[in-house]
């Protein structure tokens, strides 16, 4: 599904990623674990196209998308939920959801049905539909951002630290939602996180990122062992 080869990305002159390689097969849930500042967000931004790589190649569904701008990648099947959620604060929850649909020509005509289906998966949003996005709590915004992204029916979902600054009860809720969605929609997911519990509850495989390179691969069982994690990531 997704193939990343020797991806190098810089912020201005400062290199952040020094050649990242990995593959994701269809239906897989990949976790990428690392501290702040190790290049997790940079990697996802490069995958969606918000940052241009210095070199390397990104292939999606056997097509080279390295030069595609973000909107083209989104229409080609990549959904991206940014860190810090980035919902539109002055649009209502319903309008936020609609923005996920409108640019997909094949979905436009089914707008109402799509939103109804999404609300079945995210019942919490039902009562908030006419509220402005900006007045929602952090957890609700995260759920909205995820729901809005799914409105565009992505095949590959990129999640950037969805648990950051969110109360534990909603973290549990997001885990449940993602587990259900995986079964229901056959989603392929790349998740970057530093929350061990969250990443091990969901991932099939976990890559460890350190100073812009992948330093190892862990199974979810290994994640449960603090010593191994300490050794790979330098975190516990």
């Amino acid at each position: 599904m997704l193939e990343v080869k020797q991806l190098k990305v810089s912020y201005g002159r400062i290199p952040i990623l020094h050649g990242v390689d990995f593959n994701v097969t269809e239906g897989e849930f990949i976790g990428i674990l690392g501290h702040n500042g190790m290049g997790k967000t940079t990697l996802l931004k490069a995958l969606i196209g918000l940052l241009k790589p210095v070199s390397g190649e990104i292939q999606l569904k056997n097509q080279n998308i390295t030069r595609y701008p973000p909107h083209k990648r989104n229409r080609f099947g990549i959904g991206y939920v940014a860190q810090g959620r980035d919902i539109f604060p002055n649009l209502t929850v319903r309008e936020n959801l609609r923005t996920g649909i409108l640019m997909h020509k094949n979905l436009r005509s089914k707008e109402t049905t799509i939103i109804e289906e999404i609300l079945e998966d995210f019942p919490r949003l039902e009562s908030l539909l006419n509220r402005r996005g900006g007045v929602l709590s952090g957890g609700e915004q995260q759920i909205l951002a995820l729901a809005r992204c799914l409105c565009g029916s992505p095949e590959l979902l990129l999640l950037d630290e969805p648990t950051e600054g969110i109360q534990p009860s909603i973290v549990e809720e997001i885990i449940e939602i993602l587990k259900n969605l995986r079964v229901k929609r056959g989603l392929t997911v790349v998740l970057v996180e530093q929350n061990l519990e969250f990443i091990s509850a969901l991932s099939d495989r976990v890559y460890v990122i350190r100073r812009g390179v992948f330093t190892g691969e862990l199974s979810p069982e290994q994640l449960a062992n603090p010593e191994i994690v300490q050794e790979f990531v330098g975190m516990n």
Partner: protein, 288 residues
Amino acid sequence: MDLAAITIIQVINLIASLALLSIGLAVIFGMMRVINLAHGEFLMLGAYAVLVPTQAGVPLWISMFIIAPLFVGIVGVIIERLIIRHLYGRMMDTLLATWGLSLLIVGAMTMIFGNTMEGISTPFGSFTIGSLADSQYKFFTIGITAVVLLVAYIVLKFTRFGLIARATMQNSDQASVLGVSPPAVYTLTFGIGAALAGLAGAILAPISGVLPTMGAAYIAKAFITVIGGGEAILTGTAAASVFFGAINQTTTFFTSSVVGEVALLVAAIILLRLLPQGITGRFFRRGL
């Protein structure tokens, strides 16, 4: 009593004119944070786009409502593609570039049409209240402004394009990862802003006369209105037009038109001192 009625009509007319000549600038500034110093020249091009076809025998209404906005809109799209697109996020550079552009357009138009004032006869004639008479064209200006603002509101609030435009304005990166192409939205927005300026220039042409340098007379007022209005494009423009228009025309009534203009500028300075974010930075925050 008659005097009061005429005065009220004149105040409303000035408010409408202010809103009309500012709305195109407000759309471009509000949506794209681009300070378009060539806005006055867009108005002027709109005025010529009425003058030239009308002199050639095209009915006035066709030139005014179709040719002028269409022509200036296309000019806007071309300018966005050639110049503005390369300067996004660089406010000072866009400011200088559009200033240069404004000089260029004035120069080119002077070369073609000469530095002489030409006129289009004002349609409709006049109305009388008691012993006082005034031009019926004022009602036309007021009506068109109301329609333009209403249509703009409906487009922004209820259409797909409006929703996409509002989303892009709030966070263009986020809009792009949802499939929106911000450059396409910006081209269209700039074109619409230019078309609105063209329409405004066309409607003002019969009252103001048409001259290559006429834009300079309007650009300052349009800017003051947009900055005074603040972030919300429509609510801001409407609120600032009411505020400045009322002050300007009321002062003019009691003194002279020069003092009226001075009062407008003084009011703008005080307003921005008290409300640096403009009227909609404090009031009507949720407006469009």
